[in-house]
């Protein structure tokens, strides 16, 4: 989509007044996709505009939108059938919605629901969840803490967008409560592990990319094909239990330390809406193999923040970072993912890995912010935090800022106590 496209016109305003507020995450230039319900009603596909939601399922049923003639792709209240259409249809549908919501050309009779009256759901059926490790600062910090500060990055890290398969069944929408996991715990001086609730429950601030174009088994992708296959992006919190992780992860990687929950923000911000905020990846420390080279700037300049609130207390912002720090773009991650012939499916979710930057407060996990608990964070009411306590609420926020603001909304979760162990 060229940036001269009318959907990027900074002068454009909506007849939905709240979309024209300068601090709105959802101006007419954004139009992110989600799934909502109102009252006891069924799940419906919607697009956020200011403080409202346009009921896209209704627009399709009424014939106002027709992305797939003869089909009702929004009827099931999940975005996968729409995502499975072509990138051209994604772009055309977005342009049509912008016209309908435009203050000059729009249709003020569109079906709207207030976001405050809606409940948000997982916007896609996440077929598979893959988590990458694409921030050099994060990988260096973790390597320094747990392995060797002088050789913090593994030799493969500067060549491969390192990733692992995550657990799709526990990808949940923002607002879902997070139960503290049980696991095997063993301190360095313990003779044997014990069973108990994680005492090092952590967050990982990530960007999630949602795949909209499937590949066949055995079919590699170029970076250009991979970039075009990404439907949009969400905020992602890869909740992590560091004490479970350190005991379990060798030699096959993180498993139950990550499997209990991954939260995503409810609104998928499209690749089209993010186009004005493209940013190149950082300079390479070593040349990449040609299959990973990119002809376009595939990172994004997205401001990211982590808020932490103890139960009953006001939130405090504990980290401020940016998605442009990522050493590997989502397109590079997806290219590497498909290289082996791994089939990609509509609704696959790729986490970027924790996004950390160079500054002491630009770190995307408590592990790094407190240096594995050595330097606790002071909360305003006098409490300290090394890792998360029951009752804590974590909220991620993200937005691009330029001639207008493209926001992601929030991704939040509150920690509930661990269950009774199985007898």
């Amino acid at each position: 989509m060229p940036l001269t496209d009318a959907t990027h016109d900074p002068e454009r305003r909506s007849w939905v007044d709240s979309a024209n507020a300068p601090d709105s995450d959802f101006p007419i230039q954004n139009l992110p996709w989600g799934v909502f319900s109102a009252g006891d009603g069924p799940r419906r596909v919607g697009v956020a505009i200011g403080e409202m939601i346009v009921d896209v399922t209704a627009l399709e049923a009424d014939g106002v939108l027709e992305p797939a003639p003869g089909e009702q792709v929004f009827a099931r209240g999940i975005l996968n059938p729409f995502m499975a259409l072509t990138p051209t249809v994604w772009t055309e549908t977005r342009a049509r919605l912008a016209d309908l919501l435009d203050a000059a050309t729009g249709d003020r009779a569109l079906p709207l629901v207030a976001q405050s009256d809606a409940r948000m759901h997982l916007p896609v059926f996440v077929r598979s969840f893959t988590d990458f490790y694409a921030s050099k600062e994060h990988a260096t910090n973790v390597g320094s803490m747990f392995r060797d500060p002088d050789n913090a990055l593994m030799p493969n890290w500067l060549h491969i967008p390192i990733g692992y398969n995550g657990r799709a069944s526990t990808v949940v929408v923002s607002g879902t409560e997070i139960t503290r996991p049980l696991g095997q715990l063993k301190g360095p001086d313990d003779d044997a592990p014990r069973l108990g609730p994680s005492a090092k429950l952590d967050i990982e601030l990530e960007l999630g990319a949602l795949v909209g174009t499937a590949t066949r088994m055995g079919q590699p992708l170029t970076t250009a094909q991979a970039e075009a296959a990404i439907f949009g992006y969400v905020l992602l919190n890869d909740w992590s239990a560091r004490d479970i992780q350190v005991w379990e992860y060798q030699p096959l990687g993180p498993f139950q330390s990550k499997a209990f929950a991954t939260s995503i923000s409810p609104w998928i911000v499209t690749r089209d809406a993010l186009a004005p905020f493209r940013h190149p990846t950082p300079p390479r420390d070593l040349p990449l193999l040609p299959y990973l080279e990119e002809a376009t700037a595939n990172n994004f300049d997205i401001h990211l923040e982590i808020d932490l609130a103890a139960e009953g207390c006001a939130p405090v912002t504990v980290a401020r970072t940016n998605a442009r720090y990522l050493y590997y773009s989502a397109a590079q991650q997806l290219t590497h993912h498909a290289l082996s012939g791994c089939a990609m499916e509509v609704g696959d979710l790729l986490g970027s890995g924790t996004i950390s930057g160079p500054a002491p407060d630009s770190l995307g996990s408590l592990l790094e912010l407190t240096w594995n608990g050595r330097d606790p964070i002071a909360l305003p009411d006098g409490q300290e935090r090394r890792f998360l306590e029951d009752g804590d609420t974590v909220t991620l926020r993200g937005w691009c800022e330029g001639a207008y603001r493209i926001g992601f909304g929030t991704c939040s979760g509150t920690i509930r106590p661990a269950p009774v162990p199985p007898a």
Copy 2:
């Protein structure tokens, strides 16, 4: 199910003659579940009996079977809706099918299709695939080769059923051709990696357990609950690219080295059919935490073999092993998987990990059989194999042998050349 149940009666015979042959994998005591199509017809659920398939979708449509009154759980031609019913329904349906197929009491007008006229499909929608590492012999062999022969087992291995999340999108049914994967390859003396086809393509002989009972996020299981949640078992070949694996796997585990394909046998042998062949896990080297202790024998005495055939040549059996060698049962694997609160879903597939035993030919991978290529296998026509060549066909076989035979059929795949690398 008590072993006095009529479905385990060794004297019982079927009116389908081929089921009464002593070497049949599918006597009336087995009745494994699969999904087939005939000609251009739609996918249908079936049960194997001798050389035939009973068309269970037709039996339900005709009202002969009614596992979920008012619903047609077999109509979609996939087993997940039936598996989502209760273990009691699984058992009752099996008993009803045995009565219908019994030489004395049966109904010779049942709809049958010859297996030779049917095409088999993936029997379940595999929601998530998890691969474990539950053979002590295999973990010891791999640790000896790649780490330290004196400390081959990681300290966690005797406490945790170690596993990792695999890739569900490339779980395919036996007979699907396997494309040699591309990947990053780097020898120990190379300065930098290069892109190329894997030269160390391997097999992993495993047993796969299919989960039939879902759990809620945050809900741990006891070993007894986990054991009851397993619908049945399949043969599983976890195709592996050892040269990709050794370069990519630190610190987050295997990724593209395993993501390109996993083959399973088409017939799901039920937990009920396997009941007479239960076997305890081997003696513990160290006590387990109580949550992993089992009150029942949850391993199975299943003979397993690997056949390897070069293109145009007769197959040779390269390994003979047994599922009873597994140090951790599938019930223990599933219990650990759910411990963190990870939600399990109907159709989740748990691979046991490569099954190796104590004898030199009881090893479940070429990596071990050839000791990473040091000791090639001689094929009858004079060829040698260190790893798989294009055109090779690998076939896994498995069966229990007692008063009767409970067979798994075969799980096979033929290697096709790697694609052209992305430019």
